[in-house]
Assembly symmetry: C2
Homo-oligomer: 407 residues x 2
């Protein structure tokens, strides 16, 4: 019997009506003759409610106990869905992370999945039960409850699908799938039928919020193809899978935009070994994630170093950089959050020449100055002034003809 | 180091302020040099909220999944308390039922405790941690989450105290202790300093709501003395313990009153073997708990049978009795919920003569007719008309001088 793993996010199980709607969707596939495993998130807003409760006690609450607290969110959802399915005359059984068990390491709040035991679930499926699994949570070797971090339910679903060798994995969310760019920026944005793991990973790390990065990494590593689709309609969604020759036909698959970064420049730094580590080690120690780093050509033994950090960390990063500036004897320090990072992503870049120059020319044509550039094999990112962000996205979307219907 | 087990009920942990207050109480005892284990209930109202959510889906929801659902209530409380204690600079660790593990049978919604593993908790205590345990919940042999039924957290506390061989067990609630009668009925009601398990059991089953019956049974079976006291003040509370000679000095320890029963009479029933079972077997099959049963002296081979059932079950019981009436060829069937059951309880009854007649005389003195009488070794219950309930309680409280200060 084909085995399907479905995952429903917070808005898809936001109230009892939505849970009933999920139950109907699940039973329809069950009635078609499939074994069904359903991974659920906490009801929309519940995780935040619990987090806020804890933060009223302590802004930095004990991490082990935070996982005990927030893991109740999925437990409530899975019980309500099981009760709904049983009421509809189906046999259903719910599993907390520890009941599977889904083993993780002990990094509370951001645990990594070690392995997923399949035996208990397979037995229930053989008995004709619909199995419901709490997403986002697991258990460590000492029997502590762990959680996988924000969006972790996606990772749970992929991990469960991998362990059970599922025939099909579907991630249900509140959007129709993965788009060529943010439909809020241009109505020409098109849903992508199929996208490679690598492209999806770049998109996720460049600002597309539809999927959790770890989930995509996990799927790529374990070769689990999956579909992202909406639980609010019957539209087809986007298949995230291994790359194929079809995907390389187009040079660019998507345009993304991240307006939540800020830029820091240290000028007049001595151009000698060890300088970069003196700058970035203290930032890493403060848990500030540095994204792009650019070092200008040296002049007179001095150089300028520019890098981007999350907008929210700018103040903290500037404080740290004041110290660094003194230590290094840099001439100037400047921070600026009036920037946006616009990126184009596509497997086809590897075989299509001139993609970068086409991008730069398109931006220049609108009078948009490029402040920083960063590239990988399958993406090009440009930092520009924030006010041009939407214009840049629209012009790049047009330039690479992403609004056209594809095969 | 002395080991104290404390249990805090729903109102005692009703919000973050109350939880902070509990934390201060716990750490004060810890700082005095005690090992502390704290058993917690769900925050007041939370269990009802979850029950109602499930009952919107199905009035009779799947029992296994109900336990998965409602057990999240205690899990939230224990995490919040642990976070609070850690914030105060103490080491704390919370335990779900399955983490202890606290093993139960598989009677979802009303599971019975089989055993409590002490090893993990003792290790944490040795490491200087305050251990917090989710009340009300356990795990069965198949790894399913179970709950102990309403008030089950009291039982959890007593079971944990028994397993750990605690030196002291305190049940914190929203009342000061066990009173000689309901203080809402007479201001003369006095808090009892010490009461025997047997008396407390009778009181709990006769309408006193302060303690869960199973918890008292468990404490009696495992000889765990415990104190009931308020988390809202520092008053001393009531010790529930094994009987001692002091307790027998007074003939009566308490007066209780239950206004939530109804009375059913089947008249003109053939007085022959098997009749009682023909009446009570169908009622038991319908899960209706019959309390008092009285069969009058037979006249002309016919007899009248009167019994009491919970008020809420009267309609259902009357339906069943209509059938029984036909089958037995009884002459009449009457139901009535205009009754109250007033009881006096006391170990001293065993050695003090004339307690019953003193009770009957006192009631007669106020013109109160007694409709039914039921006795055990340490209690006498009378069913009277409901309107006399409070008067009867006051007059019995006076008659047996329960308002007097005791040693």
């Amino acid at each position: 019997m084909p085995l399907i793993v479905q995952k429903y996010g917070g808005t898809s199980v936001g109230d009892l009506e939505r849970i009933a709607s999920v139950a109907r969707r699940v039973t329809a596939r069950k009635d078609e003759g499939n074994d069904m495993v359903v991974v659920v998130s906490a009801m929309a807003g519940e995780t935040d409610r619990l987090l806020e409760l804890a933060k009223k006690i302590n802004p930095v609450p004990n991490e082990r106990e935070m996982d005990v607290l927030v893991s109740t969110g999925e437990q409530v959802t899975m019980a309500l869905l099981a009760i709904t399915l049983e009421s509809m005359g189906h046999k259903a059984k719910s599993y907390c992370g520890w009941q599977i068990p889904l083993h993780t390491d002990s990094s509370f709040g951001g645990a990594r999945i070690a392995d997923v035991k399949k035996e208990a679930i397979l037995t229930d499926l053989q008995d004709g039960r619909i199995v419901i699994v709490a997403g986002f949570q697991g258990v460590d070797d000492d029997g502590n409850i762990t959680t996988l971090g924000r969006g972790g339910s996606d990772t749970s679903a992929v991990a469960v699908a991998a362990a059970l060798k599922a025939d099909w994995c579907e991630i249900f969310t509140d959007v129709d799938g993965v788009y060529t760019t943010d439909p809020n920026i241009t109505s020409k944005a098109k849903k992508i039928k199929a996208i490679a793991y690598e492209e999806m990973l770049e998109m996720a790390s460049l600002g597309a919020k539809v999927l959790n990065i770890r989930a995509v990494e996990f799927a790529m590593r374990h070769r689990v193809p999956f579909v992202v689709r909406s639980s609010f309609n019957d539209n087809e969604g986007t298949l995230v899978t291994e790359e194929n020759s079809e995907m390389e036909k187009e040079s660019v698959s998507a345009v993304t935009c991240n307006m939540k970064e800020a830029k820091i420049t240290l000028s007049g730094v001595a151009d000698k070994p060890g300088v970069a580590s003196q700058i970035f080690a203290p930032l890493a120690a403060a848990n500030i994630v540095v994204d792009m780093i650019i070092q200008n050509t040296s002049a007179d033994g001095k150089t300028d170093i520019t890098f981007t950090v999350p907008d929210a960390d700018l103040a903290k990063a500037m404080e740290i950089c004041q110290d660094i500036k003194k230590k290094l004897g840099a001439s100037d320090l400047a921070g600026c959050n009036d920037i946006a990072k616009v990126s184009i992503i596509g497997l086809g870049m590897r075989s299509h020449a001139g993609v970068a120059s086409t991008m730069f020319t398109a931006l220049a044509g609108e009078g948009i100055n490029i402040q920083m550039i960063s590239t990988s094999e399958i993406k090009i990112s440009c930092v520009i002034q924030k006010k041009y962000a939407e214009l840049a996205v629209r012009i790049l979307h047009d330039t690479f003809e992403l609004g056209k219907a594809r095969s």
